[in-house]
């Protein structure tokens, strides 16, 4: 039943209530944004599931105790395997050396390229990305004679697993290049270098005091990626018969798979924590405001 008042109100509504009326399509927009939110949540669940499921499985496996109980014995047992401790120490040493070697090679080269020979940027990029395209076995086959020569000629130094640093530097180049390059693109390196030089800084000071502090985020990212890659590198170490962390985990897996999985999980968590710390605390990562304030007359 419709009263005359109701009819009149109904007729007046589009005009008098225009300000209160929902914009055309607003309901559809809200439905659409709800749909988008749902899709995002679904994607996140799938991605996290994909990433976390193996970790959860590893955790479940490595914490199995007797008669269905839970135990951290596998994690405690890590320290009872000397070869495992040696493998961890070796990998960490290689990681540190690789980070230093990579930074020493890449940062000055990339800064010099940007400032002095920008047309070479593509060439350097291509060279740095090459290791992605070359299979590990090809690298090993090519490089094995050199390692054989180093082992027989340079004695203990030549045969040390730390010499893997030389290969690892090459392996991390594609990732490190991208990270440092993104850092270099956030600042006007050429102008900063010109300014520093005009004030009296030589190239070493220009790079260390002016460029590096302003691409610290990129350098930290490159370093973390390098550490993660070195800690996870198996193929080349194994083929060259060096006992790094991953090789030892593999060998240990044949004897005590629980401890092997515990170590692998610990290494993964270590890498995640490292990445989180860098992403959270690296300069520039926290979204420092880059926009200058509006022009205002000086006092």
């Amino acid at each position: 039943m419709t009263s005359p008042e109701g009819a009149s109100l109904g007729a007046a509504a589009p005009k008098g209530g225009a300000l209160l009326a929902r914009p055309k399509g607003a309901g559809r927009g809200r439905r659409s944004s709800r749909g988008q939110l749902g899709a995002r949540i679904a994607i996140l669940v799938v991605v996290f599931g994909y990433l976390l499921l193996p970790l959860i499985a590893m955790l479940e496996f490595s914490t199995r105790g007797n008669y269905g109980s839970r135990s951290l014995d596998s994690f405690a047992a890590i320290f009872s395997y000397p070869d495992l401790i040696d493998g961890i120490a070796t990998s960490l040493e290689i990681a540190v050396l690789t980070v230093f070697g990579m930074l020493l090679l890449l940062v000055p080269t990339m800064v010099w390229t940007v400032v002095r020979v920008p047309r070479m940027r593509r060439v350097i990029e291509f060279m740095c990305l090459l290791p992605l395209a070359i299979p590990a076995i090809v690298i090993v086959v090519g490089i094995a004679p050199i390692y054989h020569w180093m082992g027989t000629t340079l004695g203990g130094v030549g045969g040390s697993p730390l010499t893997l640093t030389l290969i690892d530097i090459i392996l991390v180049l594609p990732y490190a290049y991208r990270a440092i390059d993104s850092g270099l693109r956030t600042v006007d390196v050429a102008t900063l270098a010109d300014a520093a030089r005009s004030l009296g800084a030589g190239w070493p000071r220009t790079i260390l005091q002016v460029i590096v502090p302003n691409i610290r985020g990129g350098i930290l990212s490159a370093s973390v990626l390098a550490v993660a890659l070195v800690l996870g590198e198996y193929t080349i170490s194994s083929l060259l018969s060096f006992d790094t962390l991953q090789v030892v985990i593999f060998l240990l897996g044949k004897r005590d798979s629980y401890v092997a999985v515990a170590v692998a999980l610990s290494a993964l968590v270590f890498a995640f924590v490292l990445l989180y710390v860098i992403a959270r605390f690296a300069p520039g990562a926290a979204g420092r405001p880059q926009r200058a304030p509006e022009e205002e007359p000086a006092p």
Partner: protein, 356 residues
């Protein structure tokens, strides 16, 4: 801005600079084609020219940031052509914002002093003086991203002056700023430059800036110096066609030259040196030298009148369709409106003419 120049800041060294027949090739491009300039001690020379004319190349060569292929650069009689930038003691303010983002304004200004081994207290004192000089006293603790573009360029100027440079090099330092800040800052830069007395090379493509700031203005084209002269002389007595056409607004009006004069709208006007001397020519007449008078039976028609504050600019079309711009006081333009008919004349000021 009311900053005064602290006594200690006025320590700039006034040295002479000479470019001797400088050449620079970038592949097949001859960026500097025999550039020679003498800059007197304490003088501000503005290099003006279109993009790619070589003015920035010349500045960078003086700063040691680029090398030259031939020629010499003398500073105070000393050949610095092969001295690296870090040892030249030149203060440079760049077009792009060049403050070190990881340092505060104070640290930026003090950086050059730090490299020279100046003690911490002395550095801080000097940095504060320099920031005062550029009107940014109290801004020393701010980071570049907390400063506006104009403020960043002021800090860059303070940083360049803090090292007491032999020569101050300004590479289009105002081009990234908005018009109002730009005008304000160029006056400040000029005031400070006069106060500290540092020999200065200023590069710009903005002729208003060059004419307003330079003791002398050098106009460059294709790696060569076309003319260098005080602003008024450059404007009133251009020596080459390029300078006459590039600097200021000009009308191109048909005329006939003979015996050092050219007849324009019935007036004999003397020709400047370097002009085409005989026959039909295009006469380059400044808008302020064009005179309009109302005439009911005139054959020239006003097409537009622009109000510019104290001045007015009127565009008229001649019977042959040539568009002529005249500039006059607002009072003189009071009777002009689009569609009005006028007679056109010119003042007998010397003009430049180019062969038709």
């Amino acid at each position: 801005m009311t900053a005064t120049v602290p006594a200690a800041a006025a320590t700039g060294r006034s040295v002479a600079v000479q470019f001797e027949d400088m050449h620079r090739w970038y592949g097949s491009v001859h960026a500097l084609a025999g550039l020679s300039i003498d800059i007197a001690p304490g003088e501000l020379v503005a290099l003006l020219g279109p993009s790619g004319c070589g003015k920035t190349t010349a500045l960078r060569a003086l700063g040691g940031l680029d090398e030259v292929d031939a020629g010499r650069i003398l500073v105070d009689g000393r050949d610095v052509s092969h001295i690296p930038a870090s040892k030249r003691n030149m203060g440079i303010v760049f077009q792009a914002y060049s403050l070190f983002p990881n340092m505060t304004a104070g640290d930026n200004v003090a950086y050059g002093l730090r490299l020279r081994g100046t003690g911490r207290d002395e550095r801080r004192k000097r940095a504060n003086e320099m920031l005062e000089l550029v009107g940014l006293g109290g801004f020393g603790d701010r980071y570049p991203h907390q400063l506006s573009g104009g403020q960043q360029q002021r800090v860059a100027l303070a940083r360049a002056l803090a090292i007491e440079p032999e020569v101050l090099l300004l590479d289009e330092p105002l081009s990234a700023l908005d018009a109002k800040v730009r005008r304000q800052l160029r006056e400040e830069i000029r005031r400070i430059q006069i106060a500290v007395g540092t020999t200065t090379l200023f590069v710009t493509h903005d002729q208003e800036e060059a004419l307003a700031m330079g003791d002398r203005v050098g106009v460059m084209s294709a790696g060569r110096l076309e003319q260098i002269a005080p602003p008024a002389e450059l404007y009133d007595h251009p020596r080459t066609r390029f300078v006459a056409e590039f600097v200021g607004l000009t009308n191109r009006i048909d005329g006939t030259a003979a015996a050092g004069v050219v007849n324009v709208f019935g007036t004999n006007v003397p020709l400047l040196e370097g002009s085409a001397e005989a026959g039909p020519v295009k006469v380059l007449v400044r808008p302020e030298n064009v005179r309009l008078s109302r005439a009911e039976d005139g054959t020239t028609r006003v097409v537009a009148v622009s109000f510019l504050g104290s001045l007015c600019r009127a565009q008229v079309t001649l019977p042959d369709g040539t568009l002529v711009v005249a500039q006059m006081s607002a009072a003189e333009a009071s009777g002009l409106y689009p569609g009005a008919t006028v007679n056109v004349g010119v003042l007998p000021a010397p003009v430049f003419a180019v062969a038709d």
